[in-house]
């Protein structure tokens, strides 16, 4: 990065660190922070959408749909979510390959599961085995993101379902008295009012989502945990590092990053809650009104 980095062995401590912390692998390490932020940026809205569909489905009057919604919402209860993460990553991959296999190779006659192997025809592999490395990485990443979205969608469905039930019944009855259909009541009365009730649960979910991001490492993505281990270790498969085992310091840096991130989120979410409570018929809104008067 800097010109004086040409011969690191001649440098003092401070410039040595300046060189060390800006070398190529560290740039990859910093990029992996973006990977995490990208995961949050995609997962949060997608999970919210899944949650909304799940919660709306649980309210449906058509029994099979409501069962499916209830199954989805209750799926995360009782079972550790990390089990879901490990499960979905393989299951989604196999499901995609299986579907692709049915389309690409309809005249394939061997069984797909042969003992301990999962065999699909070459053309059905996702991504194709001839694809470049980055395609594999991007595919893995999006499988991981989708897995996060499914699991957090189930949490969000729980929160939103509770929020929908918290909207005062009188509001809905009024809508019915005006002759609105169920659909109109849902979109015009229920949905606009439910957010203030959903906000505490959703804020909580956001904090949990932040704290779940290191699990990307378990799903085989080269995220910040992966790089912290690689860079901190004294010996790795690929490079030799001119320092002893520094993993402790790298993980300490990650800890500080997460503490800062959750702290900032907390402050921002508190501000949003205050803004949204304004003028609402909830305890928070009433308290604001009293304070102003």
């Amino acid at each position: 990065m800097f010109e004086f980095c040409a011969d690191p062995s001649t440098l003092d401590t401070a410039p040595w660190f300046a060189c060390y912390l800006t070398n190529g692998v560290h740039m990859l390490f910093y990029q992996s922070f973006l990977t995490v932020l990208l995961l949050l940026a995609i997962t949060a809205p997608v999970a919210l959408a899944f949650g909304f569909v799940g919660a709306a489905a649980s309210r449906s009057h058509i029994l099979p749909i409501s069962w499916m919604g209830k199954l989805y919402t209750s799926m995360v209860r009782g079972v550790p979510d990390i089990a879901f993460f490990l499960f979905f990553v393989i299951a989604l991959d196999q499901a995609l390959e299986w579907v692709n296999h049915q389309i690409q190779c309809p005249d394939w006659d061997e069984p797909i599961r042969q003992g301990a192997n999962f065999v699909v025809c070459q053309a059905a592999k996702i991504p194709l085995s001839s694809a470049p490395q980055w395609v594999h990485e991007v595919y893995n990443y999006f499988i991981a993101v989708f897995t996060f979205s499914i699991v957090f969608g189930a949490f969000a469905a729980n929160v939103l379902f509770g929020a929908m039930r918290a909207v005062p019944r009188a509001q809905l009855e009024t809508a019915e008295a005006y002759g609105m259909t169920r659909r109109q009541t849902f979109w015009r009365i229920l949905v606009p009012q439910m957010w203030i009730y959903a906000l505490p649960g959703l804020s909580n979910l956001w904090m949990i989502l932040i704290k779940a991001t290191p699990l990307l490492f378990l799903l085989g993505v080269e995220d910040i945990v992966y790089w912290a281990r690689e860079l901190g270790g004294s010996r790795t498969s690929q490079y030799a590092y001119p320092h002893p085992d520094w993993r402790l310091w790298y993980f300490l840096a990650l800890l500080v990053f997460y503490l800062g991130f959750t702290r900032v989120s907390e402050v921002v979410l508190a501000r949003i809650t205050r803004r949204l409570s304004h003028g609402q018929a909830t305890a928070g809104g009433e308290a604001q009104g009293k304070a102003a008067a």
């Binding site: 550790p80 990390i82 599961r113 704290k211 290191p214 490492f217 378990l218 503490l259």
Partner: protein, 274 residues
């Protein structure tokens, strides 16, 4: 091997008893259920002990955080902030490397006999889980302390109670009663969090791991996730139901003096990962 023989061979495999080699090649359903069940021993071990010791520390933390004195309040606030604000996964890694590095750092003095057990999962991970659950439960108890009805405290004052007596007879029972439903959820999450132990820095000594460790082993071997993970799920649902039952019984005892309609119910509200 018949199923009963499999159970005899693998029931305590996770503790190092019985057959040493894990099943290979064709893996039967019975072998999967037995070994995953064997792994559950570790989940229960971590969960029960961390919960038990964590409870006492959590009460201390809550009282400290609620205290007027700055020297008691500040450390408690920081402790709770650090453990609740960071991922458990990172905490495990950090603790592991700290415990592995510590004996190497202090090179002149050989203290590895002292720190060795800490670098193993059975003690190292237990301590991390203990500190983590203490922080989460401490925050729950702190919230309960803040919402003790004013009348209860005034009544205690009127009876001339003060100091420890007032805490033991009025503050503590009310706090526990108010916090119990939330604490039940915390207990369930803690049991779920124990599945992270063998996926963070702590190595599984001689392949003696927890339920999820064996499940992922089978999923890797058979390349079929549709059998081992549902087995884990069923085991954990049973465990969750047991926890809810036990905590509901305690809850009933804590609320026994109240009229029926004012009793708080234990309701399971999932909000997971640390």
């Amino acid at each position: 091997m018949s199923c009963w023989e499999t159970v005899q061979a693998y029931a305590f495999r996770s503790l190092g008893f019985g057959e040493r080699l894990l099943p290979r090649g064709e893996i039967s359903l019975c072998e999967q259920v037995t070994l995953i069940g064997s792994g559950m021993i570790w989940n229960i071990y971590f969960g029960v002990l961390a919960l038990f010791f964590g409870f006492f520390f959590a009460v201390t933390l809550a009282v400290a955080k609620n205290s007027q004195a700055k020297w008691a309040r500040k450390p408690a606030e920081w402790f709770i902030f650090v453990f609740r604000g960071s991922p458990l996964f990172i905490q495990f890694f950090l603790a592991y490397f700290a415990l592995v590095r510590l004996p190497e750092e202090i090179g002149t003095l050989d203290i590895s006999w002292l720190t060795d057990p800490f670098a193993k999962a059975w003690l190292g991970a237990l301590i991390v889980l203990f500190l983590n659950t203490a922080a989460y439960a401490g925050e729950i108890f702190y919230g309960a302390l803040r919402s003790i009805p004013k009348g209860d405290l005034e009544a205690a004052d009127a009876y001339g109670m003060s100091g420890f007596k007032r805490f033991r007879r009025v503050v503590y029972p009310t706090m526990l009663r108010l916090a119990w439903p939330a604490y039940t959820n915390e207990a369930i999450f803690l049991f779920h969090a124990t599945t992270l132990v063998y996926f963070s820095g702590f190595p599984a000594f001689r392949q003696q791991g927890d339920a999820l460790y064996y499940a992922s082993y089978f999923a890797d071997r058979t390349f079929n996730p549709f059998v081992p993970y549902p087995i884990v799920a069923i085991f954990f649902i049973i465990l969750t139901l047991i926890v809810i039952t036990v905590f509901s019984l305690i809850n009933r005892r804590l609320n026994r003096h109240l009229p029926a309609e004012r009793r708080a119910r234990v309701r399971y509200r999932p909000n997971l990962i640390r």
